[in-house]
Symmetry: C2
Subunit: 172 residues, 2 copies
């Protein structure tokens, strides 16, 4: 055998790897560089730490978290005007942290380590099968697995279907 | 006595009332229509419900509150860049609500009725006597009394003087 016999399988393997990588990139939304969630292809929206607050929340044990939902302009306007269902382009982001006693003031608890960042994106056509919402859960900036993402919509649908599948109400 | 004898004291009383009202209006900041806090003359900043989140917090009994601190652009930039003391023009607003069990999801608590809105405004010259900060506490849109406002800086100074008198850290 000459060297070509060795090189051809290697080249084929390299092509396969490139094809797989290309497929993964196809799943990414154009506007959002960075990893996206399985199933929905939803990424971490750019600039969400600057978005206005919808409401804080607290989650008891075993999660023991402080949380805050923020929303982009489209979603905040819908919240303020009571528009439901939320219009396409609405994005909600729930940030979460471990619940930590404040070292400065005994009765207070403050955000500890960040835990998850969870995203809901409204696109009535793209996500028609899940009430118009695409979901994503990120842990340390990386999307959780498909098994976790399969649980998102079922829970929202069973509890808050009548509020366009959105748990969080605008804080008064 | 003719009618003038009755009218003069009434006119004097009316003038006094108007003068007192004018004094109260003098205490208002030019940029912020609406009532201002005693001592500091700090009002509710316009548009603060649109400001980005610094961090949520929880306050245990007896207050039993969920809270969220938001900040204007000047203050958020200082937070992000670790600039201390906060520059003039920094404004922090702490929103607070009663801590309410979620009707939709047992382990969660959500904001109930709004309780206080508390403001810190940085102006190193105007508020030189209180570390450069002016304070305000509003309840149902009305400023609390002077007695309450006299407690603000003493508590901040005794606990977080080394962090430019600011309790809330930027959530990670």
């Amino acid at each position: 055998m000459n060297r070509l016999h060795y090189l051809l399988p290697a080249a084929a393997a390299a092509a396969l790897v490139l094809a797989v990588l290309a497929c993964r990139y196809d799943g990414r939304s154009d506007e959002r560089p960075g990893p996206v969630a399985p199933i929905y292809g939803v990424g971490l929206p750019e600039g969400y730490p600057e978005w206005p607050l919808v409401a804080p929340a607290q989650e008891a044990a075993p999660l023991d978290e402080l949380r805050a939902v923020v929303a982009n302009e489209v979603a905040i306007r819908a919240y303020r005007q009571g528009v439901r269902p939320f219009p396409d382009g609405s994005v909600l982001v729930k940030r979460a942290w471990k619940h930590l006693p404040s070292p400065d003031f005994a009765p207070a608890s403050i955000p500890g380590q960040a835990t998850t960042v969870q995203v809901m994106v409204k696109d009535a056509r793209r996500y028609a099968a899940t009430g118009g919402w695409g979901y994503a859960r990120f842990i340390d900036g990386r999307p959780a697995d498909a098994v976790q993402h399969r649980t998102c919509h079922a829970c929202h649908a069973s509890r808050v279907r009548d509020r366009d599948y959105v748990f969080t109400r605008l804080a008064p």
